[in-house]
């Protein structure tokens, strides 16, 4: 069974902030990590290949430094790694990104399943996995919390708002996974060293036959026109003192405002 896992290198969002002067995102010195949900996708793929045989290929679109994320995935047990990187991919929105990844997947060719994390930590859109599936013309099953293979069929348990839904789909299919599906392994020094020696293929737009009109800025129907810091509530009242008194004061205030 061949599984392709699409991953993204993201800034650690807990360190990202807005420069209040320029209203632009401050990224300097922010550590880059594998999107946490993608770690679950890698783990799931590695586990399933360990059980059923086959290989795991990790795929990422990004600048050259995204190679680091792919090496981490190799250390986690992926067999092959491919970085699609080209200046014409810059400024891609979710539609253009899913197009580029789908052309790379076509180039890889032989796959049974495609795994993604349910969404990326920086953008939080969850739009790329369905976009890839649509571009490839294969079914998608999003928000998976459990995956079971039965011949050419896959049974996927989905985590929805307040219920679990089990869906059956035939391969090939794309599945996006949630955090609760597994606990990603933490590779040891040995695995990390071995991953350093492995090859990370780098493909540009011509390698994957990507139409430049559908990539990057030209291929992106959405455009960010403004970024700004979220308004934080600064008028909050702080209560300190005897627990009974402060508790009563807050309850009275909530009742007075008809909140409870």
């Amino acid at each position: 069974m061949n599984i392709i896992v699409c991953i993204k290198q993201v800034p650690d969002t807990s360190e990202v902030s807005i420069d209040p002067e320029t209203n632009t995102i401050v990224r300097e010195g922010v550590p880059a990590i594998i999107n946490p949900f993608d770690e679950n996708a890698i783990e799931q793929a590695v586990q399933m290949v360990e059980e059923h045989g086959g290989k795991v290929t990790v795929l990422s679109m990004g600048p050259p430094q995204a190679e680091a994320a792919l090496r981490e995935a190799l250390a986690m047990g992926a067999d092959e790694a491919i970085l699609v990187s080209d200046r014409c991919f810059a400024a891609s929105d979710t539609l253009a990104t899913s197009y580029v990844l789908s052309t790379a997947i076509r180039e890889i060719g032989d796959y049974d399943l495609i795994f993604c994390g349910k969404q990326a930590f920086d953008g939080d859109t969850a739009q790329v996995p369905p976009g890839i599936a649509e571009h490839l013309g294969i079914p998608q099953v999003t928000f998976a919390i459990g995956i079971e293979v039965d011949g050419r069929k896959v049974r996927v348990r989905r985590l929805l708002e307040d219920e679990f839904e089990t869906v059956e789909v035939k391969m090939p299919a794309l599945i996006s996974v949630v955090k609760q599906i597994n606990e990603p392994r933490r590779p040891g020094i040995k695995a990390k060293l071995a991953a350093k020696k492995k090859e990370v293929k780098v493909w540009d737009a011509s390698c994957i036959d990507a139409d430049a009109c559908l990539c990057g800025f030209d291929g992106s129907p959405t455009r960010v026109v403004r970024t700004f810091a979220p308004s934080r509530n600064t008028e909050g009242k702080k209560y300190e003192g005897e627990p009974k008194e402060v508790a009563t004061a807050v309850v009275e205030a909530l009742i007075a405002e008809k909140i409870i």
Binding site: T94, P129, P139, Q140, D162, F228, Y239
Partner: protein, 400 residues
């Protein structure tokens, strides 16, 4: 968007016919041919084994945006009931449509849902597209995508809004990719630009540290998923009426790639859906021990709320992950959020900082949760929470 049949490639296998939800394919001289029912929804292109059906997309700037008019809300139906987020979007849609001098339509797809047209009307929809078919009984990506794409292609709405729920995010992404339209995820604010008439879509990014305003200038419809409980519905008024358009579709179960085997209600926690709850009481690491969630539950029960939790408590196995609020858990927007023993890591704030009123109880006066709290109580939650329960019960006793 255009669709055509590359005749030499067509082998006359007829696989496309059952895939078409609009009955738009005929066989002429053993080759597929579209009739006037075709909506260019693309369902047949995916069923064709030889690639003979080609979907052609317009490039950037090639869409005639003046052809598109009207605001649509794609309804969400759960167990035969219209989800609240649909009513919220109809309410918000009215406000936006007024600025565009246009009307609001609601698309309802499901099975035996005729009675819901009145719900959509009562919440303010001018028009309801009713698509009723057994294959649409429960949401599945493929048939919903085919039907909605067809409707959009045929009617050309200018704006399409969908709830940013599991269903909405799955469906909107697939439809937008198929029609090559711009889509903005999880918006918390929408407005119409006075000069350009474009939909300004504002959403949190980078774990809530950054807000971004996004435009779709060249493609139509302008699509957005919108976070539940952010927009305000109109007061339900059953005297409102809407034009109801019943859309006939033909869906063949065999051509649908997925089968739903089982649906199990999540019984692991309270029966209240966190994303729909008006009041949420959440516990964090400050509880010290899983058994102390009982105190959180008691406060939640007293004020009719649901129980939430921080990532730390879920990771520690104190409470099931379905209770988790935050970036890796659920994004909530209740009227009242009470955070007990939660320090307020960015990833938690990302999931709850847009709540109407936030009460925080924490021992540490410098905890970041106090930066977003409207009422911050510095103190031991094991003293404060029981005192709050007591105070609420007493007040209720006084007035009852």
């Amino acid at each position: 968007m255009a669709i055509y049949i590359d005749k030499p490639k067509c082998i006359g296998c007829k696989m496309c016919i059952p895939a078409c939800p609009y009955g738009a394919i005929d066989m002429v001289d053993d080759k597929a041919e579209f009739n006037e029912n075709c909506t260019s929804c693309g369902a047949c292109a995916y069923a064709c084994p030889t690639g003979a059906i080609v979907l052609e997309m317009a490039g950037k700037g090639e869409v005639d945006t003046s052809e598109y008019e009207g605001l649509w809300v794609v309804g969400e139906i759960n167990d035969g009931r219209m989800a609240m987020v649909t009513a919220e979007l109809i309410g918000e849609g009215r406000r936006l449509a007024e600025k565009r001098d246009t009307d609001v339509s609601c698309v309802l797809m499901g099975h035996e849902i005729g009675h819901l047209a009145d719900r959509a009307a009562g919440y303010g929809a001018d028009r309801v597209f009713l698509v009723d078919h057994p294959a649409l009984k429960r949401y599945r990506t493929q048939p919903f995508t085919d039907v909605l794409t067809g409707l959009i292609n045929r009617n050309k709405p200018e704006i399409v809004l969908i709830g940013a729920t599991s269903m909405g995010r799955d469906l909107a992404s697939r439809v937008a990719a198929r029609i090559k339209a711009g889509l903005t995820a999880d918006c918390t604010e929408l407005s119409i630009n006075d000069e350009t008439g474009l939909l300004e879509q504002t959403r949190p990014a980078f774990g809530g540290n950054v807000m971004a305003t996004i435009l779709c200038e060249f493609t139509r419809p302008q699509m957005a998923t919108v976070r539940p409980k952010v927009m305000k519905p109109l007061e339900f008024d059953d005297s409102r009426e809407a034009e109801v358009i019943e859309v006939p579709v033909e869906i063949n179960e065999k051509s649908i790639a997925t089968k739903i085997l089982e649906v199990v209600k999540d019984e692991s926690g309270s029966d209240v859906n966190l994303t729909e709850a008006d009041i949420i009481v959440s516990g964090g690491r400050g509880l010290g021990d899983p058994k102390h969630f009982a105190l959180i539950e008691e406060l939640a029960d007293t004020i009719g709320g649901a129980v939430g939790a921080s990532r730390a408590t879920v990771d520690a196995g104190w409470i099931p992950a379905t209770h988790q609020v935050g970036q890796t858990g659920k994004t909530v927007h209740p009227k009242l959020y009470i955070a007990c023993g939660i320090s307020g890591a960015v990833q938690h704030l990302a999931g709850m900082s847009s709540s109407d009123v936030i009460v925080a109880i924490n021992k540490d006066p410098d905890a970041p949760i106090f930066n977003v709290a409207h009422y911050g109580i510095v103190g031991d939650l094991f003293e404060v929470v029981p005192a709050m329960i007591e105070a609420i019960k007493q007040r209720r006793g006084d007035t009852a």
